[in-house]
Subunit: 219 residues, 3 copies
């Protein structure tokens, strides 16, 4: 079980690192920049969680396998970028899997550190989405997760299942599997059918067109 | 007194969350993105302070009222954005009040944790302005506070009053009230009369025109 | 030795603060914004390292000299920006020196806190490059270090020398001097001869032209 959990975590790390490296390659970063983005995308969520719950140094600075996995994914992407792009549907599937693993692992770790159930759910979600947010901020893009198809919601669902299972003292293995399947399935369906969260009416009516012109005195 | 302090803190949280949510709505984020911005704008300053002084988990992850208040403000903004926009003068006033509360609370907490007076002032200011900075970075904008009318200065004044009061062992209540009034008043006057800090001559001469013209689609 | 080390650290702080302030002046920030960028550019790397290894409050919040040095550099830049610009070659040299000092100091501190050798190297690099990354993110630019001439590599080399010296129990002084000289020399040579890390072929083929068209001077 412990080993399974580590394996899942490292798969998640690998896939998230691929997504970070690919974003860096597309923006023309050099080799170092690509490796930084791999590491950041794969580990920033977990590092943030660990800083917030006081688990320092964060796991990513303890266990060399996280660094190694991230750098390996970064190098693969750097030298075989066009291959990774051609596999991008597979990458999206792996990314959905990574999200599920990270959300589950994040919520469990927060519970272990004594956080309240609601906050364990929040931290599970942060673990899942934090890496992608840092990746996008480093590339000066508004984080995709603030716009993407149910990305954060899928992480929230997984973390919620873990926390409810914990509160009801249900056995860990089936709860974990349920959480993983729900998160993965929800994310894949959202991509497939383009499920979206609503956008405020206000934005749709008035501001989106005006945006580019309307902050003259601010800058 | 304790209850008053909590009430002020939650009012500040609510108002800062409004400002974050409104910024998110204007940029066309989905519901989740708007809620993330509410939470970040309202709590990132306090979370940063708590991480820096070693108070983990940060208050925002302890006490559910901060999360609840932030999400409530985010939902209100999401569904009644045009109302909030129409009330934007009131929101600016509340924001000035939130800044005052946060700066005072931040400086006090830093003193309680044994930081030096100068650093307590700095952390008071960080508590006041950190949320807005994170909000703007997530939206890929240069933080307003690095340009706005005496925003940070007002926070600095409030934090300085608190720290001086502490050093001179003055009674807490009148010191707090003085700090709040000074910060609020200074900020409101700065908005009303467009008081600004100076900009370097260098920038005015050479760079501003070039700047404004050369990133047309970015701003 | 101790005093030398502090002196080197403060020189690094001063020079990095210059670079932050200059970037702020060029973007037309007000006085406060320029001072925030000085402080962030000079201290964010060390603060990040200290948070990650659990050394809170970070040194920059302990020892007033870091704040004082940063603000002094910011004020000098604000009022004499055109002078600093004319000295920009000298500033680049000082910046290379600052990078060397910070990478060495960061790796040593991480070793003192019991991190593994590999992670001490990573944290030495983070100490060297973190400030510049935060500076660029606050100005909504992709961090230069993800693209610049061997900047991070020079920091990695310095940190690696420190860690190898530590593992082999070599005397500290000559190891430190070697690390400093290597980092400084590598960075200066890289600037002089425009040494670059490779960029992925994928980016060169397909994406760079599209990219270059819409932000011409930025990339």
């Amino acid at each position: 079980m412990e080993e399974l959990s580590l394996a899942l975590d490292l798969i998640g790390t690998f896939v998230f690192a691929l997504s970070g490296a690919l974003a860096g390659v597309k923006r023309g970063l050099d080799l170092f920049g690509v490796l930084v983005l791999s590491f950041a995308a794969a580990n920033a969520g977990g590092i943030t969680r660990d800083l917030l719950i006081g688990a320092v140094p964060p796991a990513a600075f303890h266990d060399l396998r996280y660094l190694g996995t991230s750098l390996f994914a970064g190098l693969v992407t750097f030298y075989f970028a066009s291959l990774i792009v051609r596999l991008s549907n597979a990458v999206l599937l792996f990314d959905a899997a990574g999200l599920a693993f990270f959300a589950v692992a994040g919520a469990s770790k927060a519970l272990d550190h004594g956080l309240s159930p609601v906050m364990a759910v929040v931290l599970g979600m942060v673990t899942g989405i934090g890496g992608g947010m840092v990746r996008d901020v480093l590339l000066t893009e508004i984080p995709t997760v603030l716009r993407a198809e149910l990305y954060a919601v899928a992480a929230l669902v997984a973390a919620t299942v873990v926390v409810i299972g914990h509160l009801l003292h249900l056995p860990v293995a089936p709860v974990t599997i349920t959480a993983l399947i729900l998160c993965f399935g929800l994310r894949v369906m959202a991509i497939r059918y383009r499920w979206q969260l609503p956008v405020a009416k206000f934005a749709k009516q008035s501001d989106v067109t005006a945006k580019d012109g309307n902050n003259p005195e601010k800058f």
